[in-house]
C-alpha cells in the first residue's frame, strides 16, 4: 500500500514537471517542415531565362547544321531527325557536403522529373521545380551532389544502312519504370574524352554524383551558410539544358549490321566531342547558390540600346574571366594573331589532341573489318603527322606547327586543358538574366532586366558582348580581343528588400 501511494505521487510529480518544462518549439513539426528548400532549374539564367531558340532542321538548315548538329554527326548526316521535345531526369538522391567533408543524405528520395522543352515548364521558365528533401544541421556547406541516374531526351533514332539508304527506327529506353521512345545520354556523360586518357579513368564518374560547388566556394565564395534560425533557405541548383541541346552520332558496336545512332544530349561547348568519340562527358554544366528569402534584394536596370543579351552579376572583386572559357591557353609560337572562335574549340586547339587508337574489330563482317583497317591507317597517319613534330590544319584552315614532341608535353598540354575546363578556371555565374528583345516577353520592355533574389552584398554587373548563340556559352580569347565575353555595366550594393540600379 505504501508503494502504491508512492507511485501515484511519483506519477503526479512527473506530470507536473512535464507541464512546467514543456517545449516552446513543436519538435515533431520541426522534423516535418522544411526550412531548406531545394529548387532545380534547367537554365543558364537564375530568373527570366531566354526563350527556347532551337534551330529547326527544315526551315533553318544552315543554323541547324552549325549550332544543333554536332560535328560528330558525319557517317549519316543527310537525314532529318525530329527535334526533341521532352527532357527527363531521374535523381536517385541528393547529398550535401559540409566544409569538414562529412556528407548529409538530406534528400534520400528518388525523384523523376519530366519537362516539356517549352517556355512554360517550371524547369525552363525560371521558377524551377522544388525537390523533396529534409533539413540539414546548422552548418556551412561546400558542395551539393546530385546522384543522376538517368537523363533522357526523346527523338533518338537508330539508322541501319540498307541498299536503299538509311533506315530509321526509334530508340526506346526506360524512364520511371516505363518504356518511352527516348535515349539515356547520361550513360555517355560518365567520362569526358580527357578522362579516357587517364589511367584512373575507371574510377571517374562525372554524373553519379555530379558535384556542384555552392556559391562559388572553389573560387573564393563562402558556400552555403545554413542556419535553422531563418524560416527558409533556398538552395537553387541550375543545370544548363535550355538552349543547350545538341544532336550527336555514335556508331553502334553491336552485331555485324552497319548502324549508327542519332541522339540528343547536352551541348559539347565545354568538352568538345569529335568524330568517333564514345563519350560526351564533362558537359553537364551546373551551378548552385543559396539565398534567404527574408534578406534578398534585386538588381534592375536597362542595357539599351542593346537588347537580347545576357546580364550577369558577380561578387565585386571576382575575376570576370572565371565566368568565360579561355580558348587560348596553349603557347604556340606560330599564332601571331589572336585566336577567335573559328580557330577551333579548346580541345581542337590542343596540339596534343590526337586520335585515339580505334578498338580492334574481332567480328566476322568484312565491311566492319575493312573499316577498322582504314581507321587504323588514319590513326597512324594523324599520329605521325603530329608527333614528334609536324604541321596540321586547325579548324579555320590555317596551317600550324605541332609542339607535341614528347610524352611530357603531351601530359602538360592535357593537364592544361583539364585546368581550363575545370571549375576553378571556368564556372557559371550565380546570377544571370536575359534582357529581352522587343516583344520577346510580354510586359517586359526591350533591353530591361531584373535580377531577382540577390543576397546582400556588392556586385559587379556585366552585359554580354554578343547575343547568345544556341548551344554555346561565353568565351574569352586573349586580352587583345575585348569583343568576346562581358563588359562591365556598373557596381550595385544590395541590401535586404532594396531594388538597386548598377552605378558605372
Amino acid at each position: 500500500m505504501r508503494f502504491m501511494k508512492q507511485s501515484i505521487m511519483a506519477v503526479f510529480v512527473l506530470l507536473f514537471s512535464v507541464m512546467v518544462n514543456c517545449n516552446k518549439d513543436p519538435l515533431l513539426t520541426d522534423l516535418k517542415t522544411n526550412k531548406l528548400i531545394v529548387v532545380l532549374k534547367g537554365t543558364y539564367e537564375s530568373n527570366n531565362p531566354m526563350p527556347w531558340n532551337m534551330p529547326n532542321p527544315v526551315t533553318e538548315p544552315a543554323r541547324y547544321n552549325s549550332e544543333m548538329q554536332d560535328d560528330s554527326v558525319y557517317e549519316c548526316n543527310t537525314t532529318t531527325d525530329p527535334l526533341p521535345s521532352v527532357f527527363m531526369i531521374d535523381l536517385s538522391e541528393i547529398r550535401l557536403w559540409d566544409t569538414r567533408s562529412s556528407s548529409y543524405k538530406f534528400s534520400n528520395y528518388r525523384q523523376t522529373l519530366a519537362s516539356g522543352l517549352n517556355n512554360i515548364d517550371p524547369l525552363f521558365n525560371g521558377a524551377g521545380y522544388p525537390l523533396v528533401n529534409d533539413d540539414v544541421p546548422t552548418r556551412n556547406y561546400a558542395f551539393v551532389a546530385l546522384y543522376i541516374r538517368k537523363m533522357l531526351l526523346n527523338s533518338a533514332q537508330a539508322y541501319v544502312a540498307r541498299d536503299y539508304g538509311w533506315e530509321p527506327s526509334p530508340i526506346w529506353d526506360i524512364y520511371a519504370e516505363k518504356e518511352f521512345p527516348t535515349y539515356n545520354f547520361n550513360m555517355l556523360q560518365v567520362h569526358s574524352f580527357f578522362d579516357t586518357l587517364r589511367i584512373e579513368s575507371t574510377s571517374i564518374n562525372r554524373v553519379y554524383p555530379l558535384f556542384i560547388p555552392i556559391n562559388d566556394i572553389l573560387i573564393g565564395g563562402v558556400g552555403m551558410l545554413y542556419s535553422s534560425d531563418f524560416t527558409a533557405t533556398v538552395l537553387e541548383i541550375r543545370l544548363v539544358v535550355k538552349n543547350y541541346i545538341k544532336k550527336y552520332e555514335q556508331k553502334s558496336s553491336l552485331g555485324s549490321v552497319y548502324s549508327v545512332t542519332h541522339f540528343h544530349g547536352l551541348s559539347d561547348w565545354l568538352n568538345d566531342v569529335e568524330r568517333g568519340d564514345t563519350v560526351i562527358g564533362g558537359n553537364v554544366l551546373a551551378v548552385a547558390r543559396t539565398y534567404i528569402p527574408e534578406l534578398v534584394g534585386r538588381i534592375s536596370g536597362t542595357i539599351l540600346p542593346l537588347e537580347g543579351r545576357h546580364v550577369i552579376a558577380i561578387p565585386a572583386g571576382r575575376d570576370i574571366a572565371t565566368y568565360t572559357l579561355n580558348v587560348d591557353p596553349f603557347t604556340d609560337p606560330t599564332v601571331g594573331t589572336p585566336r577567335t572562335y573559328t580557330s577551333g574549340t579548346l580541345r581542337s586547339l590542343n596540339p596534343c589532341n590526337v586520335l585515339k587508337k580505334p578498338g580492334l574489330y574481332t567480328g566476322t563482317s568484312i565491311n566492319r573489318a575493312l573499316e577498322y583497317f582504314l581507321k587504323n591507317e588514319n590513326y597512324k597517319y594523324v599520329w605521325n603527322m603530329k608527333i614528334p613534330e609536324g604541321s596540321y590544319l586547325d579548324g579555320g584552315g590555317v596551317s600550324r606547327t605541332s609542339y607535341c614532341d614528347s610524352y611530357t608535353t603531351y601530359s602538360d598540354h592535357w593537364n592544361k586543358y583539364a585546368a581550363e575546363v575545370g571549375p576553378r578556371s571556368f564556372s557559371l555565374p550565380l546570377l544571370a538574366v536575359y534582357a529581352p528583345k522587343a516583344g520577346e516577353f510580354s510586359g517586359v520592355p526591350a533591353g530591361t532586366y531584373t535580377i531577382e533574389n540577390v543576397m546582400p552584398g556588392t556586385y559587379e554587373v556585366y552585359v554580354a558582348n554578343k547575343e547568345p548563340v544556341y548551344g554555346q556559352l561565353y568565351y574569352d580569347y586573349n586580352a587583345s580581343t575585348p569583343t568576346e565575353g562581358f563588359t562591365l555595366i556598373g557596381t550595385a550594393t544590395v541590401s535586404p528588400g532594396s531594388n538597386v540600379t548598377p552605378v558605372p
Binding site: 508503494f3 507511485s7 501515484i8 512535464v18 519538435l27 534528400s107 533539413d135 544541421p137
Partner: protein, 188 residues
Amino acid sequence: MKNITLYCTVTVIAIVLTFSDAFAYQERKDYFSKPQFGGWFGPVTPVGDLGKRVETNLGGGGFFRFTFPWPYLKIGIDSSYQKFKSKGVNELQFVPVYGNLLFQIPVEFPVRFQFKAGAGGGWLSVKPDNKSGWDPIFMAGFEVSFPAGRIVNIGLRIDYIYIYEGYMKSSKNGGHIINTGIQLYFNI
C-alpha cells in the same frame, strides 16, 4: 544415445519441478498481485506522419507495478529509450516516462490479459535541427503474460503512444508511435 535420453529426462524433470507453479494457477494469483518490476524490448514503430520521416528500430524499457486492493487493477510507472533513425539525416530520440493503470480481465485462466492506459511526459530530441525538450504523452496498450514460476512472468505487449504538441500554436501534427515487445518481469 543412452546419455542423451538421460540428459533429456533430467532436464525435463528439472523444468517440471522448477516451474511447478505453472500447473497450479490458482495459487499463483497471489504471486501476481505482488509488486512487480521488469523490462521489455522489441520493435518501436513510428506511424502516420512521423513514419514518413523516421523508421522502425529496436527499443526497450523498464517498469514497476503495484496492485490496488482490488487485485485486477494495478498502477505502473513505465519508461523506455527509443531511437528512430532514417536513411537520410532525420533522427528522433524519445524517452517516454509515464504512469498507467492496468486492468486485468477477471477470468480465471493461467494466461493473463491486461489492458492499460496512461499519461506522462516524453523527452524528445530531433535531428537535424538538434533540438530537444519535453512533451506530454498519452498511451494505451494491451499485454498478455504467461507465468513461469512464482517469481518470473513472460509477456508480450503492444503499446500505442501519442505525443501531444497541439498546445503550441505553430504545431501541425503530433506523433504516433507503436511499441511491441517481449517482456520479462518479476514478482517481488
